[in-house]
Symmetry: C2
């Protein structure tokens, strides 16, 4: 199984609508990916490691798929619609990472 992690850097002054991300964007992504998405999680950054420090990322999602090919098969046909929705909740450019799920 693989995990697609989308990480939004916690940039001062940037805009991020956590409610829209949770209630609109991510359910839409799941609906478009369909059977290619096994599940997903959403995180809201609270803090960094040092006392009083800011979290490195304001939000993250992790999308679980059977394989990279499965993710691409689900995401590819809807990439334009999904990417066009990003401006509705943030002006940040996320970091993206594909990982092998070693411990689930």
């Amino acid at each position: 199984m693989i995990k697609v992690s989308v990480m939004y850097p916690n940039t001062p002054g940037a805009r991020f609508d956590h409610a829209y991300y949770r209630d609109q964007h991510m359910p839409m992504v799941q609906a478009r990916l369909g059977e290619h998405c096994r599940s997903y999680t959403v995180d809201k950054g609270l803090a960094g490691g040092a006392p009083g420090s800011a979290p490195p990322y304001v939000a993250m999602c992790h999308i679980f798929c059977d394989s990279l090919e499965a993710f691409q098969a689900g995401f590819g046909p809807h990439a334009q619609e999904i990417m066009a929705d990003v401006a509705n909740y943030t002006d940040l450019t996320p970091l993206l990472q594909i990982s092998e799920v070693v411990v689930d």
Copy 2:
């Protein structure tokens, strides 16, 4: 519920022993945290978002706890032992983030 994410930057030339991390370090962390750790996951970085790009992080773990206080209660008494074990699998300094689990 909160998630403690520990993210190891994918620095060229750095050392990271994925087998030790999976088989020795993380099970030890779980054992020391005891009931304060609900579960944890481990990721091995495969790729970034652009074709052929490297993953931002060589490895990540995410530790799930009921609250930040629960994590601190479990981690604090064993922090020295846990941190001393890090050199056994990597010479990297990880980024740490505390997140609220919005979608589980």
